[in-house]
């Protein structure tokens, strides 16, 4: 089972930082697993 996607949201203008789990909409917008970012000869 995948780990939850917990990310930081930092506003450089206000200095506010919030740490939370991504919403379903944000997760749906992530690159899909089929979009392999590399074909390295060793597992990365």
């Amino acid at each position: 089972m995948d780990n939850p996607r917990i990310e930081m949201f930092h506003n450089a203008e206000t200095g506010e930082t919030v740490t939370r789990e991504l919403t379903p909409e944000e997760i749906a917008a992530l690159p899909t697993p089929s979009e392999t970012p590399n074909d390295a000869p060793e597992p990365l």
């Binding site: 995948d2 780990n3 996607r5 917990i6 990310e7 930081m8 949201f9 930092h10 506003n11 450089a12 203008e13 206000t14 200095g15 930082t17 740490t19 944000e26 917008a29 690159p31 979009e35 970012p37 590399n38 074909d39 390295a40 000869p41 060793e42 597992p43 990365l44």
Partner: protein, 183 residues
């Protein structure tokens, strides 16, 4: 006054000191310290104050992981298939150069990480300008060294960036954003 040559015995005044501090080449914008998150979204870090930016990161990942970045605008991550990337990398102990590419994606290479640490220096060219944004990065880490270039094929003014694991491994480390002073 960005540069002044002092002569022997001349007094360094508060005014001169403040001018030098204000006119340094790289200007700190913001930073984020991650401790076991899968990524960070930094908003309102790209403004009209600067044209080009340097993002410097040192981090570990909970297991070997590809770290990517995505541009953000108005608090929303880019989802358009508008980013192309090229990358070369070499494995320590070998002179063989490997290459990767990505076309028409919504993300670009940031670098690789693992439990033994990694560093990334990513230069972003004109992210806040209404034209294509380009980037170049260097990424030495425990297993590889990689160099990546990316172009965002849309004239969007971005004000933020998301830096995150491609998978679900977590990141611990610090990411700093600097602006290149333009005058």
């Amino acid at each position: 006054m960005a540069v002044k040559t002092f002569t022997t015995g001349e007094v360094l005044t508060a005014s001169d000191t403040n001018t030098y501090l204000a006119n340094s080449g790289l200007v700190y914008v913001t930073s984020a310290s991650l401790s076991g998150q899968t990524g960070v979204n930094i908003d309102n870090c790209f403004t009209s104050t600067f044209r080009n930016y340097l993002i410097v990161a040192d981090f570990t990942t909970s297991a070997s992981e590809t770290v990517i970045y995505q541009m953000r605008s108005g608090g929303t991550t880019n989802t358009g298939s508008n980013t192309d990337s090229l990358q070369t990398y070499m494995i320590w102990g070998s002179t063989t150069v490997y290459a990767n590419q990505l076309t028409n994606q919504n993300y670009a290479y940031f670098g690789y990480g693992n439990t033994n640490g990694a560093g990334v220096a990513l230069t972003l060219f004109g992210p806040q300008l209404a034209k294509y944004t380009y980037s170049a990065s260097e990424n030495p880490m425990a297993d590889y060294r990689s160099t990546s270039w990316s172009k965002h094929n849309v004239a969007t003014q971005y004000d933020g960036i998301r830096i995150a694991s491609y998978g679900t491994n977590t990141i611990t480390g610090r990411i700093l954003v600097y602006g290149y002073r333009i005058s």
